[in-house]
């Protein structure tokens, strides 16, 4: 199962496949793809030892745009699929790609439990506050007054705060990135992959088609003014008062990662029969 030992260092381009993305010109997700591939190169990984797992949506198309093993599953279920994969194959590096609709709405319950379970995964959510693939409906992170065909005049609903929820649910690493800075993203993702347990990287990734005003995010983002903390109480206060544009690692916990496999085989399957024998 293990790859032969190879010493050739790979570059970011070696992690990019030659498929042409379905994304619109100017989409933030292009830079996230670059950030991921740069991170994998920085980490010295081989593409055959990395799996990228996703659900449905614009962001979830990423697996096939890498040269890694990919799993493009059903809407909202990327985290469970990745959990099963990593629990069964702890030797693999598993990245999970999602968006604000896939990850926070239909997949919201899995987000809570993935944080809590603390499997050694890196969860990258490309947040553009809109359902892009279905052409512009409000997502859980959409502002309450954003008007759309499905919710004329806005939803009137408070936005979901993914970082606070991740912290409350037990994520071991919480960061926010911005797609306008692929090098910064690469460093953030590499650090998230290195950190044991469940690492959550929320990436502001503008949708220039349905949310053209998000082009202004470039001016709004700024590096987080403080060092990351390992104190959940301090992290909670920071995240609760956060303007939504602080970029960087915001929380680094030290909970041990989930380990599914409890032992090497002690018995053969046939040995289990003795409990049934009369």
């Amino acid at each position: 199962m293990n790859a032969p030992v190879t010493v050739t260092a790979l570059q970011a381009k070696d992690f990019k496949s030659d498929y042409k993305p379905v994304w619109c010109p100017g989409c933030g997700d292009y830079s996230v793809l670059t950030g991921i591939t740069k991170a994998l190169a920085m980490l010295g990984l081989r593409p055959e030892n990395v799996a990228v797992v996703s659900g449905i949506g614009c962001s979830s198309r990423i697996p096939a745009y890498t040269t890694c093993y990919g799993f493009h599953g059903v809407h909202g279920r990327s985290l469970p699929a990745a959990t099963g994969l990593k629990a069964a194959r702890p030797d693999l590096t598993v990245l999970v790609a999602s968006g604000d609709g896939d990850g926070y709405s239909i997949g919201g319950n899995h987000f809570l439990h993935a944080c809590r379970r603390n499997v050694d995964l890196t969860y990258i959510v490309m947040d553009n506050h809109v359902y892009g693939m279905t052409k512009g409906q409000p997502s859980p992170t959409t502002e309450p007054d954003w008007s759309s065909k499905l919710a004329p005049g806005g939803t009137g609903l408070r936005e979901f705060h993914p970082l606070v929820i991740a912290l409350a649910s037990g994520a071991n690493f919480i960061a926010r990135g911005f797609s306008g800075d692929p090098n910064g993203l690469a460093a953030l993702i590499a650090e998230a992959v290195r950190h044991p347990g469940f690492s959550f990287v929320e990436i502001l990734s503008p949708c220039v088609t349905f949310r053209p005003e998000q082009r202004e995010w470039k001016q709004a983002v700024h590096p987080a003014p403080v060092e990351p903390t390992d104190d959940p109480a301090r992290a909670a206060r920071r995240l609760m008062t956060d303007d939504g544009f602080n970029i960087g690692v915001l929380y680094k916990g030290d909970r041990p990662a989930f380990s599914g496999k409890t032992s090497e085989p002690l018995q053969s399957v046939e040995d289990l029969e003795c409990q049934f024998r009369l």
Partner: protein
């Protein structure tokens, strides 16, 4: 059934009376003495405690069906036991045993013409410090059916951690009381060779591991929970992994993820959980990821009757998936067949890279039976794994329809498993020719499956045939005993085997289709997939009550 070859006894009482403990010991004692047997249970709606009944059948031959009537109904007390009246059919030959100190038996039990005798269980137990009435009842029932006392003692020694000596003394009291009764003595046992004591849920779990499953995702649901609970320590012992999921949407996707990683994977559930998993089973079909789901069917729709059996998830298992999604559906037809059927399902899923659903049910799952050591599948099935070779095409269109599957970690073979329609390389495609080629390929690998004799159990000969599946098989078999009637119990429900059934029904002029659901799902399925000969009649009704041989015989 002739009561010298099979005796059915029930022991009822309120919560804490120890009827399940005593019932299990009676089954163990019967097994020790060389008999076959089966114990099912029923209880009130309370989470813990409440009235309960252990329902046993002890026989000289292997069976996991219910007899027409119980020969003996014994009760430690009668509180709310009348609630079980429909599950405890009695007749004029039956005996009702109760402690006079607990009052008279409910009228509903005596209306059958059953004879009532009082047995002062509490008083007899009271003579022995530390003894309980359930042990007196155990001894009495064992004596009544002719088990040797040494078997009762052996069962007690195996089961009891404390109060053993007083318990045995109490059982001896009950045993002695039985000698004064007109008894239901069984013939000498005929069991030869090794036997197992196993539930259908344990059997399915064990079959899964034999088939190679090493990853299980678990979300609790009655009546499948015990299957998952059996697997948890078993996987630990053999070096596998079990993850408790947050819901069934997660459990099926965890299983798919593990299987994509090359580790054969399974989850078990019941109807409500299967309904939630259906979308992702379609992903397993499209992305060609093997996975096995054991559906321990219970009474539906919705929450239904969670603790009772029904064969009403057949439509969901066969037709629930959106799009054209060929997959495997297998139904074990006895408690012990849960081993082989599940092992087979794992092999089929792995070798064909497709989801397989195993339709067990609550009756099998929670019944504890003394069975001959089950038959195993001898043929090993394995996933066709991709070696090297460039360029790798994950979904290559092959003659068999099966394409070699690369496992993450293999260099140069990276691909994306995708629920989007794709071309041979796995690249998403909305082209008509790619869709058709992949649909054909996925259908081909299923339709070419050669199940050999495993597709059905075929017994007897005659111009009339009973066609059934799952837990209706036991009572049907018994109804047809010594009759010139053929029994066909389908084990492979999807893909259908029309040619095989045609051959099996050669010369048959009348067919009775037996199934435990309200709408006749199995009949409709048979009519859709097969040409049934001559006159076709349907015997169907919903759960929760199991079919009994008499009911099937009447319909013939």
């Amino acid at each position: 059934m002739d009561s010298t070859r099979s005796v059915s006894v029930a022991l009822a009482g309120s919560g804490g009376a120890g009827v399940m403990t005593a019932g299990n010991m009676l089954l163990e004692a019967a097994a020790h003495a060389g008999y076959y047997g089966l114990m099912t249970r029923t209880s009130g709606p309370q989470i813990r405690g409440g009235e309960a009944a252990a329902m046993l059948r002890i026989s000289t031959f292997p069976t996991d069906g219910q007899d027409d009537r119980f020969q003996v109904l014994a009760a430690i007390d009668w509180q709310n036991v009348q609630r079980f009246a429909a599950e405890l059919p009695l007749g004029p030959q039956s005996l009702v045993v109760g402690d006079p100190a607990q009052g008279e038996p409910p009228e509903v039990f005596l209306r059958s013409g059953a004879r009532y005798i009082g047995l002062p269980l509490k008083q007899l137990a009271g003579k022995i410090p530390g003894a309980w009435p359930n042990m007196v009842a155990l001894g009495f029932l064992a004596g009544l059916i002719g088990l040797p006392f040494e078997s009762v003692e052996a069962a007690a020694r195996k089961a009891m951690k404390k109060g053993l000596e007083p318990g045995i003394a109490a059982a001896r009291q009950g045993f002695a009381e039985a000698s004064t009764q007109q008894a239901f003595l069984l013939e000498k046992p005929t069991a030869r060779g090794a036997r197992w004591l196993i539930t259908g849920n344990e059997a399915a779990g064990y079959g899964a591991l034999r088939g190679g499953v090493r990853f299980v995702a678990a979300y609790p649901i009655t009546p499948a929970t015990e299957l998952l609970e059996w697997l948890a320590p078993a996987l630990t012992k053999i070096g596998g992994t079990l993850v408790q999921a947050e819901d069934e949407l997660a459990s099926i996707n965890m299983a798919l993820g593990a299987s994509y990683g090359g580790v054969p994977a399974l989850t078990a559930t019941s109807g409500p959980g299967l309904a939630l998993m259906i979308e992702s089973l379609g992903l397993g079909v499209a992305a060609e990821v093997p996975v096995v789901v054991v559906d321990v069917m219970r009474t539906g729709p919705s929450t239904g009757i969670a603790t009772k059996s029904e064969q009403a998830d057949l439509n969901l298992a066969l037709y629930g998936l959106h799009g054209d999604a060929p997959h495997i559906v297998v139904a074990p037809n006895s408690v012990s067949d849960c081993v082989a059927a599940t092992e087979w399902a794992v092999g089929l899923a792995e070798s064909l890279q497709v989801p397989a659903i195993v339709l067990s049910d609550q009756y099998f799952g929670q019944a504890r039976a003394v069975v001959d050591v089950p038959a195993f599948r001898s043929k090993a099935f394995e996933r066709v794994k991709a070696g090297s070779g460039q360029p790798y095409k994950r979904y290559a269109v092959t003659e068999s329809g099966v394409s070699p599957m690369a496992i993450p970690g293999a260099p140069g073979m990276q691909y994306t498993a995708d629920g989007l329609e794709h071309n041979e390389k796995g690249t998403p495609s909305s082209q008509a020719h790619d869709h058709l080629a992949q649909m054909d390929k996925r259908a081909r690998k299923i339709s070419r499956l050669d199940p050999g004799d495993a597709w059905a159990s075929i017994e007897g000969e005659g111009e009339t045939a009973v066609i059934t599946f799952g837990s209706c098989t036991g009572p049907a078999r018994e109804a047809l005993l010594n009759k010139k009637i053929k029994l066909v119990s389908l084990r492979l429900l999807s893909p259908a085997q029309p040619e095989r059934l045609k051959r099996a029904l050669e010369g048959v002029k009348r067919v009775l289709v037996v199934e435990q659901n309200h709408s006749g799902q199995f009949l409709r399925y048979l009519r859709g997939e097969y040409d049934l000969p001559g006159e076709v009649r349907s015997l169907r009704r919903p759960g929760p009550l199991p079919f009994r041989p008499e009911e099937i015989l009447k319909a013939l």
